[in-house]
Symmetry: C2
Subunit: 338 residues, 2 copies
């Protein structure tokens, strides 16, 4: 059985209140007493029971992190940064991987709230559904604890959003490719999450403002059952055989872009001479392919730092911005000419 504050108080010959004060760094305790107590604590290796502490403090010093799949290369980075940041501020992270099913998210959110976390972080824009009803769980959660959303926007009291301006980033990247002379640009995506939509909007806006003809024909949605890079590249091959020619591919994430590169390689298309490819997220994958992938960096680390700062502010009772937007930047590598 673990030691309790009573054991320590007995051994140190003081009351439990004094031990508690020492533990919590109260200034109202004589230096000699503090030392006596600390010595006992160190000697016996006592650590306070955080459940009991939570009951007194009404805080677990724990933040719930929900993400669809923590092994996703983008989400994993986000979770890592968040955990590091929270840790540095004395908070633990309760991680929950919900999968991409909307229904289960509500359940997980409730579950994690019952753990009496001090706040909730939703990592990834896939937590925002398209209907009001789908998003009701976010409102429910926000009634109990502050809810932070990374990479999506949702306006509600006690809900705070940190995101990258995906639409603008995509608009600028598309424009830059267009201005370099590539006017037939294929847009490759898989799911239309909140940020997925914004990216597509950015592409559309750019193509439209450049008066590109019939660009809607060059929007390629990968079927849901095409999960692997190989399946995706096969699908692009099939799509290309039916569509009009294109000399650029902009993908909604790096993995799709890699699949685009594979498509080119299988079909003897030279990158970047005959085809430019551009990805999103600036992940490690950009360095793995040949040629290396031009990609948009969404400043994930900056975003997570801002998120934690905002959360801590909210928990401290300060007024905090409900929406913080960063802008992405284009990292040019060898799959593009511009």
């Amino acid at each position: 059985m673990s030691l309790t504050i009573y054991d320590i108080s007995k051994k140190a010959d003081v009351s439990i209140a004094t031990v508690s004060r020492v533990l919590n760094g109260s200034p109202k305790v004589k230096e000699a007493t503090r030392k006596k107590v600390m010595d006992i604590i160190d000697e016996y290796g006592y650590t306070p029971n955080s459940s009991a502490r939570a009951m007194g403090l009404k805080s677990m010093k724990t933040i719930g992190i929900l993400c669809a799949d923590s092994s996703d290369i983008f989400l994993a980075k986000a979770v890592y940064y968040l955990e590091q940041n929270l840790q540095a501020h004395g908070y633990e992270s309760l991680l929950c991987c919900t999968g991409y099913n909307m229904d289960s998210k509500k359940n997980y959110a409730n579950l994690i709230l019952s753990k009496k976390v001090d706040g909730l972080i939703l990592v990834g824009s896939n937590f925002i559904g398209s209907t009001e009803e789908e998003n009701q769980y976010i409102i429910d959660c926000s009634a109990k604890v502050p809810v932070m959303i990374l990479n999506a926007s949702f306006r509600h009291d006690n809900v705070y959003c940190i995101l990258c301006d995906d639409m603008n980033s995509m608009y600028r990247a598309t424009s830059e490719m267009y201005d370099s002379g590539i006017t037939d640009i294929l847009y490759l995506y898989d799911v239309l999450s909140y940020s997925g939509k914004k990216k597509l909007d950015g592409y559309r806006m750019a193509m439209q403002s450049h008066h590109a003809p019939d660009y809607e024909d060059l929007i390629c949605k990968v079927p849901d059952d095409c999960k692997s890079i190989e399946a995706i590249s096969d699908y692009v091959t099939e799509f290309a055989s039916k569509s009009r020619p294109f000399h650029g591919i902009i993908a909604a994430d790096d993995q799709l872009a890699i699949a685009a590169i594979k498509y080119a390689q299988k079909n003897g298309i030279s990158i970047p001479d005959d085809l430019s490819v551009l990805g999103y997220n600036n992940s490690i994958l950009t360095h793995c392919c040949t040629p290396e992938l031009t990609s948009i960096d969404s400043q994930l680390e900056t975003q997570t730092r801002s998120l934690v700062k905002t959360l801590l502010g909210v928990l401290a009772g300060q007024e905090m911005p409900q929406k913080t937007v960063f802008s992405g930047s284009l990292i040019k590598r060898s799959t593009t000419n511009f």
Copy 2:
């Protein structure tokens, strides 16, 4: 303020004991009463306070997961599988990223234990140090809760290890490459963690048993400051310029193998005709490069499933194997000829 069991008991006009029984699915409660209570609970959306519950149950139904860096492609997968598995069995996951510094691990371990987790999972062989003193924290932890170690072996009471036989996997892969006619095989690694050592041992054993001459000259350790793929490939280039020729590279993980591929591409060496490359972990990176990477699959999902099963057994008071070893399998792709 959140509702408590008292609020519910008042509204339902029963005692808190009855509410608790309903909550915990006790058979000793009349169906009508159960329904009455459940209706109130649903109506008011009550969820029990898990800290208070933990005090009564003496269990948080939470497992602490320690890993150096949850954004590492291998560790992220492991964390994901573990979380999913634990979730499915009613346990939450408290994630802690410790970094690779040995000292901080002890602190994190203590911290997480103070949260009164029911068990501790150390993910990755980097949690095993080379001296007895470095590993003392594991023994200390095991005095309080069962400690599970993924990917390393450490013999002690209440410590359970699940791992892949890295040495044997590496031995077999090296042998297979050797037998295919490539006798000058470079071994590329960065750190010598527990599994890092085993892999190197496997390479050495294979080279030795084939009577390969002077293979020690072909063991290439990447300096600690070479972190990026580009820096590693540059280092290999430099190493190659000074070493005798080699026609195979076996790397301790996929990222190093990708760097090896980059080295070949930069130097106009054709893969797999002039150089065979083999990685480890069978991660998504194997699909990103061209040609696609042959790699050893360490059966991570199987390992994590076994780990959780063992942990649950231990928590249920059953006798469980202290060491469970799986064997890896070679996944052949296009960076090798055999």
